[in-house]
């Protein structure tokens, strides 16, 4: 079936800001879709509110709308653009839900717009639990037995019928509050009672527990001719019970026989055919490890995180093919884009093993509940490709950037074996390390299996690693033994530590032994056909497949897994650097290990090395490729951290190098540099001991801003107000970052401003200045940022420009630089200098239409800023006002405080742009998913020090039509100012307190500025968590609240009575 020629213009819906469960994978799939449509000569229109993505680049589509992903805006764009069709299956659940809503309203039919790739019925059948269950029964495919109950008796009856263990899922509670798995009669009764209590409609779903089953996923594609293929199957190392996004996943499945595999394959194909999906689909299945019994867990009728992983794991670009199918093609008409000489209608076969390990944010959120269950908690993931499972696993471990280069976690050594055996029963992010430690202590893998249900095959493989590890100290380091260690994935970093050598020394020794990495290709077909796509991974075997053309080559370091503080923004910059290198006629090669991203799309670079971004892996590539140099400034802290050692190893770093980076990051050097330049900075110093800290504190005076050196995203940054807090912090820092000094600054309250600039060594070009809505004290990544600045005077702007130019030149920056300022009483202070690409580069590039990363790349490769048309100075400000809004994922993480502070907590960003500040704010809030009410009740819990400041704000909220609820103190203040208020009890002071009001849905907005800090028992914390769990807008910064008020005001009637 050829292309549907009636499609001239297609609207693609993106997935919006990055949140846990919906990350960069949709930038990858969306970019592929847009490219695939363009190839067919179809005009493309995109809506996506996330400025940090490649897909929202102007050149990606004919029209890019950086607008909120809401029904209102999608409809507006459809009316304006009149596309022939909407493609919603590449924008995650967000895209699908939006399409579903407008289709249900009949809007698409009314507008004569087709829905591509999926239909309403399919989405409903796949997503509605009951309809899905009915479909499975009709197909004869097993689903876990379940029953909806509204009293204990029917629950007990069902238990008699199917037996324990059972899962209890209360209806309509967020995050499964009150539910759980019951293994005993007592547990069952208790959980059912609590579940019924917690459910607002007194209803629970009781489901047969299949925890402990093998979890297997199938990624499949179907076209309109009913051709169906399985692109990849994947087996989770963690059995059913842990969300697949939080599981360690392996492709292809390892412990399934052909009979097992074909049975599940048949089932998956049957389901996609019944759902009549035209495009990609994911089927999750549970298989009993002791029989052929299986259950269908879930179906996603769209491309997903798993399909991005499957695409990278196999080389088969699912999103691209799904797009071609959506516009009419059948798979036998589409060429396999990787081999370029076979067809897309076949099933990829692998000749390597792929492992994925999720990247969790628990290094940021120390208080978070680390247990893994049905709610996904990871922000990103890494993938490792190897010819042995052990290699692929260890590549992931060292690529996670959690300061581990091996299956070893120091703190585990302090636990007794009994404690560890107890710990592994409850899965957490550290379970794989606990299991390794137990194996190291010679605990049998059968005992571990009994507790974890991790398949013995995987446990044996971990044992292989430990067994080999034990041989290191007793074996002679022959070439053969080292070869064995390397093919089993042992990192140079680990081996050098074990052998008491520096990594560079060990590397030389290994090279002398003749043990070198080799590169093999990912080709979808296990070498059966010749492939023409340079997509490589390393291994330690005989043959090296690398074909290096005679062309000047530049290596770009990627940014690794997505985590809080280092998101898709850095992939954006990496991709731009690659594009710029190509535009200069050079060969751009990239190393990265994040399967979700555009940078690891084999179409992006001239050669893709899917490897952990570590010294060893970078050097392996350099040895063969002999690039002109390496660019480190776009890959976030991941790449910056390698500058030192790469420099020592004699690698040519193109652009800002070790000297400048160290000058900015080494506190003493930095302070001195600013002093020499006569640039003001908050008073501060570095300390290396508690005594020193206490002494310095008395000199600087509280409050103080504390942070460890060399971190990104304000990790572990904290404001302390008294000595006890200081002591607690210093002790913690000394333990977690031993040997690293702590920076102590006086906490300066003022306006925060941020500048990104480009420097070629001589000229410094500044595209624009961004002003933060929140005063200093809230991490820049969690602040609303406004371009152009609204409250900064011309004089200050001039100072900012001058200071930026001065610093960029003095620091000998070649490439991008980001400077954070505080402005207090019209004076400019420098807070931080980052001589690299920053989080705001994509936002600023988009709103100023200056492709900063590209210009910077060209500048460092020798094309001066002047010759590119960007002389020293600042670009004239644009007329539109653009606001970057932070987006959080608190609902996915229990026990995390949503109060904002110097430590970054947001997972993504969205943007609002319009002709006035208020309009832009309105869009920014909407784009960030803050669905603010226009009227209703505000619960105000305000710290005393903020009360005066709040009063004016509350009056204006009142004028918009809001009512108030407050505890005693605040209530009194409001009454005194003639604002009606309902007084509520503080937590625990009465049968009914303010938490009940939140739970019962009587509160629409919460303003909360009380009891910040790490204490999870504080009232402030409880209120903020209640807000998160009940989906209530909660403002913890007064500055943000003012902004929200402005957005609400523009939506309210705004008439004035006579």
């Amino acid at each position: 079936m050829p292309k549907d020629n009636s499609l001239k213009k297609v609207l693609v819906i993106g997935s919006g800001p990055i949140i846990i469960g919906q990350a960069a994978e949709f930038d990858y799939s969306g970019s592929q879709a847009l490219r695939a449509l363009r190839e067919e000569g179809i005009e493309t229109v995109l809506i996506n509110s996330n400025p940090a993505t490649i897909m929202t680049d102007k050149e990606m589509a004919d029209k890019v709308y950086l607008e909120p992903l809401t029904v209102e805006f999608v409809k507006k764009i459809i009316v304006k653009e009149r596309p022939d069709a909407v493609l919603p299956t590449l924008g995650g659940q967000t895209g699908l839900n939006l399409a579903l809503q407008i289709e249900r309203e009949g809007f698409l039919t009314q507008q004569g717009v087709k829905l591509l790739g999926v239909n309403l019925n399919t989405i409903e059948q796949a997503e509605d639990r009951q309809m899905f269950k009915e479909l499975m029964i009709e197909l004869g495919e097993p689903v876990p037995e379940s029953k909806t109950v509204s009293n204990l008796k029917s629950a007990l009856d069902f238990k008699e019928e199917v037996g324990l263990p059972l899962i209890i899922r209360p209806a309509f509670t967020l995050g499964g509050t009150g539910g759980g798995i019951a293994h005993t009669e007592e547990e069952f009764e208790r959980i059912v009672k609590s579940g019924l209590d917690n459910s607002p409609i007194t209803q629970c779903l009781i489901e047969k527990s299949i925890a402990g089953f093998k979890e297997v996923e199938y990624e499949i594609i179907r076209d309109a001719k009913d051709n169906c293929i399985v692109v990849c199957n994947m087996e989770n190392l963690d059995p059913v019970g842990v969300h697949t996004g939080d599981s360690i996943v392996v492709a292809p499945s390892q412990t399934l026989s052909d009979k097992d595999h074909q049975m599940l394959r048949d089932c998956s194909l049957k389901i996609i055919r019944a759902l009549k999906i035209q495009g990609g689909c994911n089927v999750q299945l549970a298989l009993d490890p002791h029989s052929f019994q299986y259950y269908v867990i879930e179906v996603n009728p769209r491309v997903s995180r798993s399909s991005a992983l499957a695409s990278k794991a196999t080389g088969y670009p699912i999103a691209q093919i799904a797009t071609k199918i959506a516009i009419g093609y059948s798979m036998d008409e589409i060429m396999n884009p990787i081999t370029k000489n076979t067809y897309a209608c076949f099933e990829p076969t692998l000749d390597y093993v792929v492992t994925k390990i999720p990247r969790w944010p628990f290094d940021k959120f120390h208080s978070a509940d680390r247990s893994l269950g049905t709610q996904m908690k990871a922000t990103g993931e890494v993938m490792g490709i190897g010819r042995t499972f052990e290699d692929s696993l260890l590549k992931c471990v060292r690529g996670l950037e959690i300061k581990r280069c091996h299956l070893e976690l120091e703190p585990n050594k302090n636990f007794s074996t009994e404690e560890l055996l107890e710990k592994i029963i409850h899965p957490t992010d550290e379970r794989i390390f606990e299991v390794s430690e137990l194996i190291r202590r010679d605990i049998s893998i059968h005992d571990i299996y009994d507790r974890t249900k991790i398949d013995l095959w995987f446990l044996q493989k971990i044992k292989n690693i430990i067994d080999l590890e034990k041989q290191i100290s007793t074996s002679k380091l022959t070439a053969e033994f080292v070869q064995r260690l390397k093919i089993m994935g042992f990192s140079d970093e680990y081996l050098s530590k074990k052998l008491d050598l520096t990594e560079i020394e060990w590397r030389d020794k290994r090279n002398q032994l003749g043990v070198h990495a080799k590169f093999k290709m990912v080709d979808t077909c296990a070498a059966e056909f010749e492939s023409h796509t340079p997509y490589y991974y390393s291994t330690f075997e005989d043959e090296n497949e690398l074909e290096k053309p005679e062309q000047e080559t530049v290596l770009v370091l990627g940014s690794g897994p997505i985590r809080i503080g280092q998101g898709v923004e850095f992939d954006y910059a990496t991709v731009h650097a690659i594009k710029a290198i190509k535009e200069l006629g050079m060969r751009a090669i990239v190393i990265n290990n994040n399967p979700e991203t555009v940078s690891t799309d084999f179409n992006t670079s001239d050669a893709l090395y899917f490897e952990a971004v570590t010294f060893e892996d970078v050097m392996n590539i350099i040895d063969y490729e002999k690039p002109k140099g390496v660019i480190c400034q776009f890959g976030g802290q991941t790449a910056i951290n390698l500058i030192d050692i790469l420099d020592k190893a004699g690698v040519n770093i193109i652009g800002t190098g070790y000297e400048s980076t160290d000058k900015a990051e080494n506190r003493d050097r930095f302070e001195k540099a600013l002093k020499d330049l006569e640039i003001a900075q908050p008073i501060g110093t570095t300390v290396s001991s508690l005594e020193e800290a206490v002494k310095v504190a008395t000199e600087l005076n509280y409050p103080l801003m504390l942070r460890p050196s060399y971190v990104i995203g304000g990790q572990a940054m904290q404001i302390v107000y008294e000595q006890s807090e200081l002591e607690e912090y210093i002790n913690f820092a000394m333990e977690v970052w031993p040997g690293q000094p702590v920076l102590m600054d006086r906490y300066m309250i003022g306006l925060e401003v941020e500048v990104d600039a480009i420097c070629d060594g001589e000229d410094v070009f500044i595209p624009g200045i961004m002003e933060h809505i929140e005063r200093s004290g809230i991490h820049s990544g969690d602040s609303f940022a406004v371009y152009p600045p609204q409250t900064v005077s011309e004089k200050v702007k001039e100072d900012l420009v001058k200071t930026t130019i001065k610093i960029a030149r003095d620091f000998k920056v070649k490439g991008l630089i980001n400077i954070q300022f505080i402005i207090k009483k019209e004076k400019v202070y420098v807070l931080e200098v980052n001589p690299r690409s920053s989080r705001t580069v994509p936002f600023l590039s988009k709103v100023t239409e200056i492709p900063m990363a590209k210009i910077a790349t060209k500048a460092i490769l020798g094309k001066s800023l002047k010759s590119q048309g960007y002389p020293t100075g600042i670009q004239a400000e644009g007329k539109l006002i653009s606001i970057k809004a932070p987006v959080f994922s608190f609902s996915k993480l229990r026990n995390v405080d949503s109060a904002l502070g110097p430590e970054m907590k947001s997972t993504g960003e969205a943007m609002g742009r319009d002709t006035s500040m208020q309009k832009a704010l309105n869009k920014a809030f909407k784009a960030a998913g803050i669905d603010f009410p226009r009227y209703g009740t505000i619960l105000a819990t305000i710290a005393d020090k903020h009360k005066d400041e709040t009063l004016e704000m509350i009056k204006r909220f009142h004028e918009c039509g809001f009512n108030f609820m407050a505890t005693k103190g605040t209530a009194k203040l409001l009454r005194e100012n003639s604002i009606p208020v309902k007084e509520v009890e503080k937590i625990g002071r009465s049968n009914r307190d303010l938490l009940d009001e939140i739970k019962d849905g009587n509160v629409n907005i919460i303003i909360n500025t009380i009891s910040r800090g790490k204490n999870v028992e504080s009232d402030g914390f409880k209120i903020r968590r209640a807000a998160v769990e009940n989906g209530v807008v909660c403002m913890t910064s007064l500055d943000t609240t003012w902004a929200l008020l402005k957005a609400i005001e523009i939506n309210s009637l705004g008439t004035i009575a006579l």
């Binding site: 051709n227 399985v230 595999h261 074909q262 010819r387 042995t388 070498a527 056909f529 005989d542």
Partner: protein, 363 residues
């Protein structure tokens, strides 16, 4: 773990580690690769691999052990099995022994710790080649002796059953399965559909087969070159004149030869579970399991009564034929799967259903 040496006819040599059977004396094999990620037990026990050495492209083999149900023949005829890494700690609820034990029992050489991707690429670029596996290093003259020995062509004779066996099913349609080296699942596929099956040696006469009064004939898969058994072609011609006939793999090639077409040796054949076949009549693509080193020449069909029903989507080789007038058709791939996808199992249903209509009564 002791060493094994793998010598290729092109002069390359590899050193790997032994598992399974350790050869007492060097053994000559034909080297082929298979791209299936699953189903090594079925592959090893498929008689079509008689006298060959298989390189598995998937690097980890032995993961789920060997069970009692999945062998495609009682006695495997494979010479050697080559993998990147052999797994001696299988994990699967049906596993009864590890792969090494199984290979040892059946005197099949196992060799691992080999760069199998490199080997695969050699076969892809240079074509199927001969190899020798030995426990000791071999001299050039020893090797040249081996490689100058002509490769045997009597594989079908070796693997075909020697006596007729009957798998009765009361009231079932009787099928005669002509054995060129049949995979158990072809028999099972017929039995599962209620057929009464008689398996006969490949050189059984027409008269003998007719005596059983079958409703249909199935020509099985088998090893080697179809032209090595040209003596059976007259029997096949008579059979198709008298009974509906469905042919698989080697059966398909013999069916073609019997109708005057020609076969040719492919550069490196098709072996794997992911081969797309375009069914021209349905205009649909099926994913199939394949294992063949020869194929029917399209340019030889002109003067025959055969027409092409299916082609390989990638290299356009013939994957299905049917007789223009007689109820006889064939496929090059394996609809019985095992290992591989079940997408084309419907062919058995279709064949068996067609047998109820008495097509010969009308003639």
């Amino acid at each position: 773990m002791s060493k094994l040496y793998l010598y290729l006819e092109n002069g390359d040599y590899y050193r790997g580690e032994s598992f399974g059977h350790k050869p007492e004396s060097p053994r000559l094999s034909e080297l082929v690769f298979n791209t299936s990620m699953y189903g090594y037990q079925e592959i090893i026990s498929d008689p079509s691999y008689c006298d060959q050495a298989i390189v598995m492209t998937y690097p980890l083999i032995g993961n789920y052990g060997v069970n009692q149900d999945d062998s495609e023949s009682i006695t495997p005829h494979l010479n050697a099995f080559i993998t990147r890494e052999y797994c001696d700690h299988p994990s699967n609820f049906r596993s009864r022994q590890n792969l090494s034990q199984y290979l040892e029992t059946h005197k099949i050489i196992g060799i691992h710790q080999i760069d199998t991707r490199k080997l695969t690429k050699i076969i892809r670029t240079q074509g199927t080649l001969k190899c020798v596996i030995s426990s000791n290093e071999m001299t050039e003259s020893e090797l040249s002796d081996f490689f100058s020995t002509p490769y045997e062509t009597n594989q079908i004779e070796k693997v075909s059953i020697k006596t007729i066996s009957h798998f009765p099913a009361l009231g079932g349609k009787r099928i005669v399965l002509v054995d060129f080296g049949y995979k158990k699942n072809i028999l099972e596929s017929l039995l599962k559909r209620g057929c009464d099956v008689i398996v006969v040696p490949f050189d059984t006469s027409f008269e003998k087969i007719a005596e059983f009064n079958p409703k249909g004939i199935v020509l099985s898969n088998g090893p080697g070159d179809p032209k090595s058994i040209e003596k059976v072609l007259p029997t096949i011609r008579k059979l198709q004149e008298s009974f509906p006939m469905f042919s698989i793999c080697m059966g398909h090639q013999i069916f073609a030869l019997a109708n005057g077409a020609d076969t040719i040796k492919m550069k490196f054949g098709h072996r794997g579970g992911n081969h797309p076949v375009h069914d021209l009549e349905r205009d649909k693509v099926f994913i199939t399991a394949q294992n063949h080193g020869y194929c029917v020449r399209e340019d030889s069909l002109g003067a025959t009564d055969l027409e092409v029903t299916q082609v390989n989507l990638n290299d356009k080789t013939i994957e299905g034929l049917k007789h223009k007038t007689l109820p006889a058709y064939s496929v090059q791939y394996h609809p019985e799967a095992s290992p591989g996808p079940n997408d084309t199992k419907y062919l058995f249903d279709q064949f068996i259903e067609s047998l109820s209509e008495d097509q010969y009564a009308q003639r």
